[in-house]
Subunit: 204 residues, 2 copies
DNA sequence: GGTCGAACTCAATGCTCGTAGAGTTCAACG
DNA sequence: CGTTGAACTCTACGAGCATTGAGTTCGACC
């Protein structure tokens, strides 16, 4: 009966730890998540997490690094390769929040930003450097940056009410229902200067 | 040199404790705030908080109970006494978030909801019972409730990016700048059925 | 001016936490 | 088959936590 020392077989342990960490950080945030809880989920000794990652903070970064999804979108927006930016933004975001891995990473970031200054800085830097600047370029208006951050506010708010506070009926709405209502709003925010609704696509 | 026992003079201590608690809960959230930290701020022994409020949870409720502001607004909305609901909603909200006492109460609720299930329930119940139902009544549409929760998402998101993550330029924008951009969006969400923008007030 | 309860503090209990260090077991390569 | 290093666990440290209970000091009323 082996109790200590290296285990026989292939060691997928590192990945198991990352998955457990992402889940835990996603449901309770950085401060409220203990290494011990993650270790229990991964069926491993807490000291092993330290062995692999050094500190709790390093584990957080390793587990919740933002998925490539958004950087891709930002790059394509900048390159002008996106046909309908508002719809692409909303859909990419909602879809990310529906895939298991991305949802956990995003929720972990949002939850942690709220009670931990370092996590808040990570999220802020990601938002401003990666996303907002690309979105802002879409609008030629002088207040473009402010408009872009209001778009971000709408999306972050949706994540909050949908997955954290779980307010109905937003929590249970389908992707398409949300897209139908939110895309026109994003479109309005990002509309280039020069008059309302060039194609009459404002929400009824 | 008095070190223990009752202090001479008027005891404003209870209020001091509530203020300190509101500030602390607002900046770090429920879980990450310790009774000891609040006690230190209030220059008081931690046991005194227990003496007054019984438990940390009861202190949280006492310190962060939602300001009357919103219930008033909801009542007036229901009574049809508000001339321009979208503007009233946005302005009331932004103004609440700018007054010291309300901001701390709101931020404490939002921050805490994120890592504490009980706090999340408090916030959810407040939002749905007090606010969303009143807002939803404004729109005659079948998806009124979903539209109302998207309005709430926009506002909660603004609080998050403005005060928690502090994303620029939203964090530094004036009330009027934000109102100018957000009111039309709220108007679009709440517009009664029957065609886009009856008065051409969609954002440029 | 005595008493009584409210306002306070001290010290301690029993918990959980992040991290350190030393030790054990196995796989891979010579 | 021996060695080496990675993969793992045990035990323990020092700190911080919420809460308790017993004790001290004061204001207010008789």
């Amino acid at each position: 009966m082996p109790r200590t020392g290296r285990r026989p077989g292939t060691p997928g342990t590192r990945q198991t730890i990352l998955d457990a960490a992402r889940r835990r950080f996603a449901t309770r945030g950085y401060d409220a998540t203990s290494l011990r809880a993650i270790a229990t989920d991964a069926e491993v000794d807490p000291a092993l997490l330290v062995h692999y990652f050094g500190t709790k903070e390093a584990l957080f970064v390793a587990a919740t690094g933002f998925p490539a999804l958004f950087s891709d979108l930002a790059a394509r927006l900048r390159a002008g390769q996106v046909e309908d930016p508002p719809e692409a933004i909303v859909r990419t975001y909602l879809r990310a929040v529906d895939s298991d891995r991305s949802r956990n990473a995003i929720l972990a970031q949002v939850r942690s930003a709220v009670s931990n200054e370092k996590a808040a800085r990570m999220l802020r830097e990601f938002l401003t450097a990666q996303l907002l600047s690309a979105v802002a370029e879409l609008s030629g208006q002088p207040d473009a940056a402010l408009r872009a951050s209001l778009v971000a506010a709408q999306l972050v708010g949706i994540a909050m009410l949908r997955h954290v506070v779980r307010v109905r009926p937003l929590a249970g709405a389908s992707e398409d229902e949300v897209v139908a209502l939110v895309v026109p709003v994003v479109r309005a925010y990002l509309q280039p200067a020069g008059g309302p609704s060039p194609s009459g696509k404002v929400p009824a």
